[in-house]
């Protein structure tokens, strides 16, 4: 194989859109969460769109780069928040690992499985965040925290079922390639 063909082959295997999706999507979602979602006045049933996006990355983005994109995605949310820097980064990295394992057991193309994974994922991320709050001395009480995590998870589950097909459609329109169930992003 000559040099030009080798370069072309390497490029074709490289991930596309990752930087733009992770950084652009992260900033847009952080702004949506900070400025818009609380205006809906859903109280504890405010959906966690950011975790839905992180779960999508964990389930469908190319595993090339391991948990890196999820970590950056979480760091962006941390920079737009008052909380401890790195808390969401660590939680989304762990979510990436858990999503990888869950994918082996449950087919993420089926809406029922997406709902279950989104509910469990959102609950775990929010509960993990409260654990970090409690470690820092800012916990709100365990029963209250569990109720809140459960309501957020219940609000997020159906939304993930709606948003995942939209995300697949948009990636298809962007021209991203898909193989083995993973998007080349």
């Amino acid at each position: 194989m000559n040099l030009a063909a080798r370069v072309a082959f390497t490029r074709s295997r490289q991930v596309r859109w990752r930087g733009r999706i992770v950084i652009g999507g992260g900033v847009v979602l952080a702004v949506v969460h900070a400025a818009l979602l609380h205006r809906l006045k859903l109280e504890d049933f405010t959906p966690d769109l950011y975790t839905v996006a992180a779960l999508f990355l964990g389930l469908f983005a190319s595993r090339h780069g391991r948990y890196g994109p999820s970590l950056v995605f979480g760091l962006i949310r941390d920079f737009f928040s008052l909380g401890l820097l790195g808390s969401y980064a660590v939680l989304y990295s762990l979510l990436h690992k858990v999503a990888g394992r869950a994918r082996e057991k449950l087919d993420p193309e089926r809406p029922g499985n997406v709902f279950v994974m989104a509910v469990i994922g959102t609950f775990l991320v929010n509960f993990g965040y409260h654990v970090m709050l409690a470690v820092g001395g800012d916990g709100v009480g365990w029963s209250r925290a569990i109720t809140r995590c459960a309501s957020t998870a219940i609000a997020t589950g159906p939304l993930a079922v709606l948003l995942f097909p939209i995300a697949h459609f948009m990636l298809e329109k962007l021209g991203a390639k898909r193989s083995g169930g993973f998007w080349n992003i």
């Binding site: 969460h33 979602l37 504890d44 928040s81 008052l82 790195g86 980064a89 820092g136 957020t152």
Partner: protein
């Protein structure tokens, strides 16, 4: 090189970002005085603020007449806007003073420290657990970390991070917010000050709108607290001046050993546009005690 022989170095940490992030997180939790996380976050905001301040401007004398008129007009508009803000603040303070004067004459008479007016430029937080807002005043205007933020005479929060021209305010609904408070009976304002019920206000971080979800902690069971009583700040910790209005007691729920007191805050933080940063600092004695504690640790 075998895995076991790898040394913990900067390059190793860069190849293992999750470990690096965990170390950063542990540092932030274990050594909160260093404020590592806050400093790193401000690094993203400071260049933006500096860039806007570094724009070169033509000296006023070199401008053409038409441009001078425009500049004068802009300055005049800014002056009028500041006066309107000041006027609104004084009106709000006056009305709250009247309400407080009926509830607790002693607190209403307590003078407030000098204040810097600020506009809320961004409200909200990317995490649904935390509550903060950004204001357009910072270190250049004398704002410092920990200063109380009020609207009129009602408590809004405290300054959490400060940039040159901006500051982040931790709202009183944030779970990390703590304030020493007194519960005052409007029907019996002449009660002995030593007999007043003391409590700790802590935000519960509920998703907005979070009122009336403020709660008071450490109220002993059997304390004479009833709905309709006023909650004001106490200067016990030196963090806030005494007499800032917080809210009104709506419900008391007896629990094991303590009384859960739910209060309705005076302000709707969703509609807040103008606030004042009080030039109030914690007494030096407190700082020295904290430094001594740090040295002992």
């Amino acid at each position: 090189m075998r895995r076991s022989e790898e040394k913990l170095s900067l390059s190793w940490l860069l190849r293992h970002p999750l470990v690096a992030t965990c170390i950063l997180l542990a540092l932030t939790i274990a050594l909160p005085y260093l404020r590592v996380g806050e400093r790193l976050k401000l690094m993203t905001f400071l260049p933006l603020a500096r860039a806007s301040a570094d724009v070169e401007q033509t000296p006023y004398e070199e401008l053409e007449d038409e441009q001078k008129v425009r500049v004068d007009l802009a300055l005049e508009r800014e002056r009028v806007s500041n006066l309107e803000t000041e006027n609104a603040r004084l009106r709000a303070a006056l009305s709250q003073l009247d309400a407080l004067a009926q509830a607790a004459p002693g607190f209403a008479e307590a003078p407030l420290p000098a204040a810097v007016n600020a506009r809320v430029i961004f409200r909200g937080d990317a995490s649904t657990w935390r509550h903060c807002c950004w204001i357009n005043r910072g270190r250049q205007q004398g704002v410092e970390e920990g200063m109380p933020v009020v609207a009129g005479r009602s408590l809004v929060g405290r300054v959490f991070m400060v940039g040159d021209g901006h500051a982040c305010v931790q709202l009183l609904t944030d779970p990390g917010f703590l304030a020493s408070c007194l519960i005052v009976d409007p029907d019996d304002p002449a009660i002995d000050p030593a007999a007043r019920v003391r409590a700790v206000l802590r935000g519960d971080g509920s998703a907005m709108p979070h009122f009336p979800r403020l709660e008071l902690e450490d109220v002993p069971a059997g304390a004479p607290v009833k709905a309709g009583m006023h909650v004001v700040t106490n200067d016990y910790s030196g963090q806030f001046p005494a007499g800032l209005a917080v809210g009104v007691v709506r419900e008391t729920i007896p629990q094991a050993g303590f009384l859960q007191v739910r209060i309705e805050a005076n302000l709707d933080l969703l509609t807040l546009e103008v606030v004042q940063v009080l030039m109030h600092k914690r007494p030096e004695l407190e700082k020295e005690a904290l430094a001594l504690l740090k040295r002992k640790k």
